[in-house]
Symmetry: C2
Subunit: 490 residues, 2 copies
């Protein structure tokens, strides 16, 4: 695509000036419109070293109100970022509704550079292309406008510019080794860029090539395209996205009503097993830290099912420097203004660490579904989006454990009454719990659909039978220790 690209003819300087004045004004106006419609706009600027991405970006933002945009320079990942999934550093930087994010460099730069230097092999490259297609699609499906620019110059032009930059002491620091390497291997780079662009040119987020030989002309192309893209996106606010067919392998799971809740454990066995499993987990925790294996554990379950106590028995065994518990309540305004998975990407552990989520991203297909906090299209799409999210975690090397803590309706009632009648437990029970209880059947339907549609082979649900809380705790500890041992290759 890039190779066969036909540049538009550059207008004369007078026309460029006139159009630029108009386009800058138009873009400034769009700023108010995207704020009003809460449209999040992510602009990525890729291209050849020396093509002027940074300086064009500087010009484009000059006309914008600094409260409404952020710029990010994405060079190589830092040490902290290298310990997270590949897409982590991009996902956490997506803008909130009503604002721009401009990325100087993007995931394109990272992936193509790693491919060119041989840091990743063909299989990883292909896998990352798939991840990127999914990432861009889920942004678009969730109402993001993603505009992708590639700044193009010829080999000779690049060489000339790099030499100019180097010959001046005040700019020579801007020329990196990589820019020189790119110029020397221009054709090889062009092949990879072309391949990458073809693989990621989707109608929901197509590539726009910018003829960058003349800076004003480049700025004009970028500014006019931004205005056009924003206009299209504003017209399509609230658009429903196509539901895709599942592509992930499932394990077979029972319906929750069919689960035998009569299972239990004696007090004696409980004490004994708790001791044994906790000390095993403590030692495993050390070893995953050394081996840099990340662990992500999510808890979901009925109100009063015993999630809190269960989590406590897990964390009791862990070194506090190596884990974190994230209680998940309603999203904060800055979270609600972003892709619903953003706040979970933001809470991912470093490798070697354990993150425990008390309630999770599955709120999308339970409470958000039932309370109408998102559209039907949103939650129906979410099963696939979540499977894709967990696939990223899996490909990163994470142990993923999802616990569904199950009790029956009578047990819940007994525990609610106990809470109500015991002064020191009263804080645990609210009006909302009683309201949710009235929707038991609707919740049960949503839970079954969730468990059926998200029990992938790489991240299945585990049901914890929790009428006997002791039984559920021992089971959680056993599943956790076994999964970590498997990940350690035992």
């Amino acid at each position: 695509m890039l190779k066969e690209w036909v540049k538009a003819k550059r207008p004369d300087d007078a026309e460029i000036d006139a159009r630029l004045e108009k386009a800058r004004l138009e873009l400034a106006r769009r700023q108010m419109a995207i704020k009003e419609k809460k449209l999040p706009v992510l602009v990525i600027m890729d291209g050849w070293g020396g093509a002027g991405k940074g300086s064009i970006l500087g010009k484009v933002i000059k006309n914008l109100d600094p409260r409404f945009y952020k710029t990010e320079t994405l060079a190589r990942p830092n040490d902290d970022e290298l310990r997270r999934p590949f897409l982590y550093r991009y996902f956490i930087r997506i803008p909130e509704g009503g604002k721009f994010s401009f990325f100087d460099g993007s995931w394109m730069g990272e992936v193509t550079q790693h491919k060119l230097t041989g840091e990743i092999n063909d299989d990883t490259y292909k896998q990352q292309l798939t991840s990127i297609r999914r990432f861009e699609r889920t942004l678009s499906d969730n109402g993001y406008l993603l505009v992708k620019f590639f700044f193009h110059i010829s080999k000779d032009e690049q060489k000339k510019r790099l030499s100019e930059l180097e010959s001046d002491k005040s700019t020579s620091w801007r020329v990196e080794k990589w820019d020189r390497w790119q110029n020397k291997h221009y054709d090889k780079c062009l092949d990879i860029y072309d391949n990458y662009i073809e693989a990621t040119d989707q109608f929901i987020a197509p590539w726009y090539f910018i003829d960058s030989k003349n800076r004003k002309w480049a700025e004009l192309q970028v500014t006019e395209q931004l205005v056009r893209s924003i206009d299209t996106a504003l017209q399509n606010a609230g658009r429903a996205a196509t539901l895709l067919q599942n592509t992930f392998p499932f394990v077979q799971m029972p319906f929750v009503r069919d689960i035998d809740l009569s299972v239990s454990i004696s007090d004696e066995d409980y004490r004994k097993e708790l001791d044994e499993l906790q000390s095993e987990l403590a030692s495993l925790h050390n070893r995953i830290y050394q081996k840099k294996i990340p662990v992500v554990i999510g808890y979901e379950g009925w109100d009063a099912a015993g999630k809190g106590g269960n989590i406590k028995r897990l964390t009791a065994a862990l070194d506090p420097r190596g884990f974190e518990v994230h209680p998940i309540a309603s999203p904060e305004p800055h979270e609600k203004n972003r892709h619903y998975l953003w706040r979970f990407w933001n809470r991912l552990p470093k490798d070697g660490h354990i993150a425990i989520f008390d309630r999770t991203w599955y709120g999308r297909v339970m409470v958000e579904r039932l309370e109408g906090f998102c559209t039907e299209n949103d939650w129906q799409r979410a099963y696939n989006e979540i499977n894709e999210f967990e696939k990223e975690l899996h490909d990163w090397g994470a142990v993923i454990l999802k616990f569904w803590v199950q009790i029956d309706k009578d047990t819940q009632l007994a525990r609610f009454n106990d809470r109500q009648n015991t002064p020191e437990k009263q804080w645990k029970i609210t009006e909302e719990d009683w309201r949710n209880r009235k929707k038991w059947d609707l919740y049960e339907e949503a839970i079954d659909e969730m468990i059926q549609k998200t029990s992938t082979e790489y991240a299945p649900w585990y049901v914890l039978e929790s009428n006997d809380k002791h039984y559920a705790r021992i089971k959680a500890l056993r599943i956790t220790t076994e999964a970590i041992r498997r990940a350690l290759g035992e």
Copy 2:
């Protein structure tokens, strides 16, 4: 994708029956909704021979009102279709708004079969994939719902089914040689199908794989997916599509106001050249007929610019059995209910024939733009859609000539007055002509944009300076004969 596809678990028979009853009812209800919203729905059913496409299709339509759907069985192209561009027979069969078209087999079958039998080479295959991606995108962009099913069965299952069909005299005719070939070369076919599916799996029209071992289960998958897809499409009626960057090479063209209209020809030269060029064209017409070269000529121009007389001088030279003139007025209701290019696909000549369009598909970016008959997004998108359309004609081997017949405003006024004051010419002038004249400047802007954005190297505009009609006629004849000679390799 197809190779790694993970089948959903088939529910038990009771559940299938219950869900099927519900889904059939839902689909029947959607029929009313698509009628009301004028949504056109194109369903294509591809897959392995013997997988039961036809019989499932028969079951799905049983619940629909026959006034609102058409079925098409698309086997190999017939002789007439072979003389048109590759996509012709598909484009002319797209449904009108508010109706279903079900295709038993589609462009997928044709392209993959030709690839497998070696009837097309790798380059043609790749080119056809590009054409298909564009075709599917332009349908979606213009408000069509396209649902693509692939009916999947294993090699053994296919073998078993073909044998069963063959062993029964009443069904043995349904097994074609091709089905047997497919089964014998199952893995080779699977490779190509997988490749095709990956190349055409777009988020605007993704593939849905149907596990076809059990017929009721297959019908359920198809019916439920249709309901889901229709619901999404109904929510998105009126959606604006992303504007793509131009990918075609342009020739440089002047703005119409800068054209020198003082050029003229003497009466004597006119007679002489007219004679010579017309007899040359007559002989060229014979030769393109023999060489099966199609010619598509489009005329656009100001009212009273002299299009009619110009066309007459062209057709005077032609054998009436080998050309057709298509006067293009406002679209009929059945045309308006379809993609705006449909009526032009429908009027394409056979190879070896000449089609002359008196006004063309460029109405989209002139009258439809200025009169608000389509949205801004529609006409802005149209430049690329038209360039893609003409690329299809070019790849088919057509000579494409687009004439812009130019006069100045004074000349138009003189001709309008002459028509008004000459009884036998009065039919040529209407109130609308006067209204359009008032919009001269707006038209000029639209014309310039059109000429700049659609003068591709393979189908450039030719300006006919028509203040002197004689001059314009000679120029049209000369351009036409030269272009045909070039196509004949002279």
